[in-house]
Amino acid sequence: MLRTGLRFRGTLDALAPIRKYVEAVAQSAHLERSAVYRLCLAVDEIATNIVVHGYEEAGLEGDLKVGASVEGDNLVIQLEDHGKPYDPNFHNVPEVKDFSHALESRKMGGLGIYWHLPRAGRSGWKERYYATYCH
């Protein structure tokens, strides 16, 4: 459970202030501009899914807590919610071959979680996105 961090309402209008917080944290950790953007994008996608799938579609209301910490060479962003449980590992995530389809043939879903699956990072800060779901 996150003991520190900022608390936001679990609504879509919290997305912008969440990004602003994460951007500030990432910049204070001296991440390069492109890495800041990728981090904000990943967090935004997770937060969006929490709001839409965890709360709105489930008919629930609640908060979204965002915490940040530096652990060694890692900047760790944690999100905590109390919405409907969800594990992206059991979701159909688009594969590279899906991206070869023409736009009019593509599926709408899955693009969001594509951005926050674990990926290899470059030298320096490790870009490793994972989600632990706290309820």
Binding site: L12, A16, R19, S34, Y37, L41, D44, L103, M108, G112
Partner: protein, 107 residues
């Protein structure tokens, strides 16, 4: 910066100018605007995004929506920022839209 948007249709070209941040909160208004301008069945949808500083997957879904609504539509992105260009590349959306430096290239 909150999303700012303007739209217009001239002949066979529909135009949307987007500035600020396009996320799950602002996407519905953009989708509605796209839906509206496509009612006239334009040949081209020109998205001026030079001042669009953030685009979540919701923005990509709008592109899918536009093409599914009108498969023969040509979509142009005018001067996307490098971060958004990177998103388009990584999801192969770059292959399905025309990325141009200026609106004159959309004619």
């Amino acid at each position: 910066m909150p999303l700012q948007m303007s739209s217009s249709t001239e002949g066979k070209t529909a135009r949307l100018t987007l500035a600020g941040e396009l996320d799950g909160n602002s996407a519905s208004s953009v989708r509605d605007a796209v839906d509206y301008v496509l009612q006239s069945h334009p040949e081209r949808l020109v998205l001026s995004v030079e001042k669009l500083t953030f685009m979540a997957s919701a923005g990509l879904r709008i592109l899918i929506f536009a093409k599914q609504r009108q498969p023969d539509l040509k979509i142009y992105l005018v001067r996307p920022q490098d971060t958004i260009l990177n998103t388009l590349h990584k999801t192969s959306f770059y292959q399905s839209v025309y990325v141009v430096d200026g609106e004159s290239a959309t004619n």
